[in-house]
Symmetry: C2
Subunit: 383 residues, 2 copies
């Protein structure tokens, strides 16, 4: 019996808190753009293509001129855009509730003059989708971070009023200077005040040269497997060192991919802080300071998208099994050798890691697979 | 009772496999250099200073011209250079055996025409030190990687003949292109053939811009706590993707800082490989392929320098408690508020993590604290 079949047979409510969609307003905006990122349809490809990277500019031009050229970017299959497909995926994997979010790069690139309006349309799209499946769908909204602070504040007010919104998805760039930027503090405060949880998700990775001259031989493994979690770890550590968690004590964040590598590195971070001459001289290492461990246990939740019992064990040891939340990362990592309409191995790996780490059907498993998310994100409040 | 006092009272043999020294031949070579890295003495500082970074060039010039200017670099205290100090440190912390190694940046910057000779002098220095304390000191040699292959091979032959040598310390640069460089294969083969274990240690970190515009406020925390382990993780993953472990099946590596973040990320690496279209198309994801988990359990050892029970737990789950090796990272991370001649908090943090993870005095603790190193590095063979 597969893990997903076991999920079906139990009474457990399964919640997927890490699952993405590009709603119609987002695709429309990308299709209308003349510069990357953008969406284009090519006669030589069945699905529209999402072109995200500046490095794809040349192949974009070639594909325009030559209908035989390999189209750039990646396909926007129905998994990215169709609500029906999302529901099918949920049913196939016995997922009762999904908290959907816009996939990267969110609104990070949108011109300041329009990002407020674009964000509002996208958030309304998500709200409409949730209304079609009451109780089965909730969402994390997108913030128009390129817009003036007042527009961002209005967006938070708007999200607060949307019945199925439970937080916002955030990249690590913030206003362009990272999440330790003091100009973000009023935004974090407004989010905390509105009880909107921040789902922190990577997009920018690490500079390409760290992967070395042979990187092209390794597909996307290095930037995806290492760059993404390292980006998240750096972003949160910078927030911690800038005392953001102390300054906005009610801020709550779900960290993608079980915190990147934060549970594993927290001890080293603490040791480096205690042993840093500059920080000690500046009086920043006081005895009553909250450690990164405190933050992990008090203001951070971790998703369980770590694909192993080993990683999950460390995540639990760091934050507590009551702060771990199952997720799938759908529609990323589709199966390559089996039918995309069937079970996805990537989902099974994460569900299986939970079962092996805490025992299938155990109270902890029930928590991680769904009950924690219901409690933390108030998914039993439908009104 | 402190952890170190408990170590003293037990019958356990304690081995420190991660402990550095700059022997006389290395300091002499650095003192004779006109370009960074170099060693200089300044009237305004009690100890000679080691200047490693190109970014310190300006403050080096200023300190030369102005005796009141803050001297660049970091102090080379007796902890870095004195054998007597190393023995005092070992006695204070009840360490029975140390496997010493040259600290970064090793010989990575040394001109090809002299690196062979410099390496030989340094390795002889280490050998001489070990001979003064038979059975208490062993060492990992340094390789003259900038020299021609034949010189590197001769260095390996030389090291193989040195009674107390048990391996080599290696950075992640290799011959300048990283450890997935095919030109390194004959060197890995020669090391494996000579039963010399590779101690892989970071030095290059990550590009500075990943730490953001406020990095200077955080001392050295970000590059040391995150950059170092991330560098190690990237280097080993590149080796794995280039099939180095399959090609040199007898290669054995100890990874500094418990593998950087490899135990935590191994699941994600495996998932990204299985789901990579390019690798699957190219037939690189065959069913009988050895996974990164296999390599962690068969060809990798992890030091226990991770400063937490959480990290240590993941390291054990990934590689097995019989492959974990206690280390101190001496003389880095000295205590800032207590006497350097007494107990070091950084050592206690790691010893304490072992005691808490597997139980003080347990068979596993005996293994991690010393017995594993004795078995793996043949530290009971004195001849």
């Amino acid at each position: 019996m597969t893990v997903c079949a076991a999920m079906a047979m139990s009474n457990m409510t399964v919640v997927d808190i890490h699952t993405h969609m590009y709603p119609p307003a987002y695709i429309d905006m990308l299709a209308s753009r003349q510069t990357i990122p953008l969406v284009r349809t090519f006669p030589q490809a069945p699905d529209p293509r999402l072109i995200l990277l500046q490095s794809e500019a040349q192949s974009l031009e070639e594909a325009r001129d030559n209908p035989a050229a390999k189209p750039p970017g990646r396909p926007l299959t129905s998994h990215y855009t169709s609500l029906q497909q999302k529901m099918h995926f949920m049913d196939t994997h016995h997922i009762d509730i999904s908290v959907v979010s816009l996939a990267n790069p969110w609104l990070d690139f949108v011109d300041a003059s329009v990002s407020g309006a674009v964000g509002e349309r996208i958030n309304n799209d998500f709200s409409d989708m949730c209304r079609l499946h009451p109780g089965r769908l909730f969402f994390f909204g997108a913030l128009p971070l390129t817009a003036p602070l007042e527009t961002v504040r209005s967006s938070i007010d708007h999200l607060k009023g949307l019945k199925y919104c439970r937080g916002v998805i955030l990249g690590t760039s913030g206003l362009g200077k990272g999440l330790d930027d003091p100009n973000l503090l009023p935004i974090f405060e407004a989010l905390a005040e509105a009880s909107l949880t921040v789902f922190l998700h990577p997009h920018y990775g690490l500079p390409n040269d760290v992967w070395g001259p042979r990187a092209e031989e390794y597909g996307h493994v290095l930037p995806l497997a290492l760059g993404f979690p390292m980006e998240t770890t750096i972003a949160v550590t910078r927030m911690y060192l800038a005392s953001v968690f102390d300054k906005v004590r009610r801020l709550r964040m779900i960290l993608a991919h079980s915190g990147g590598t934060l549970p594993f590195l927290a001890g080293r971070i603490e040791s480096c802080i205690i042993h840093d001459g500059q920080l000690v001289r500046e009086g920043k290492v006081s005895k009553d300071r909250r450690s990164i461990w405190d933050v992990l246990k008090e203001q951070v939740y971790l998703d369980a998208v770590v694909y192993s019992e080993v990683g999950l064990g460390a995540a639990m040891d760091a934050s507590g099994s009551d702060r771990l939340l199952f997720g799938t990362d759908h529609p990323f990592f589709p199966p390559l050798t089996t039918d995309e309409q069937g079970e996805w191995e990537s989902v099974g790996m994460n569900a299986d890691a939970v079962a092996r780490a805490v025992g299938e059907g155990s109270a902890k498993a029930m928590g991680i697979m769904g009950a924690n998310a219901i409690r933390i994100l108030r998914l039993d409040e439908k009104a």
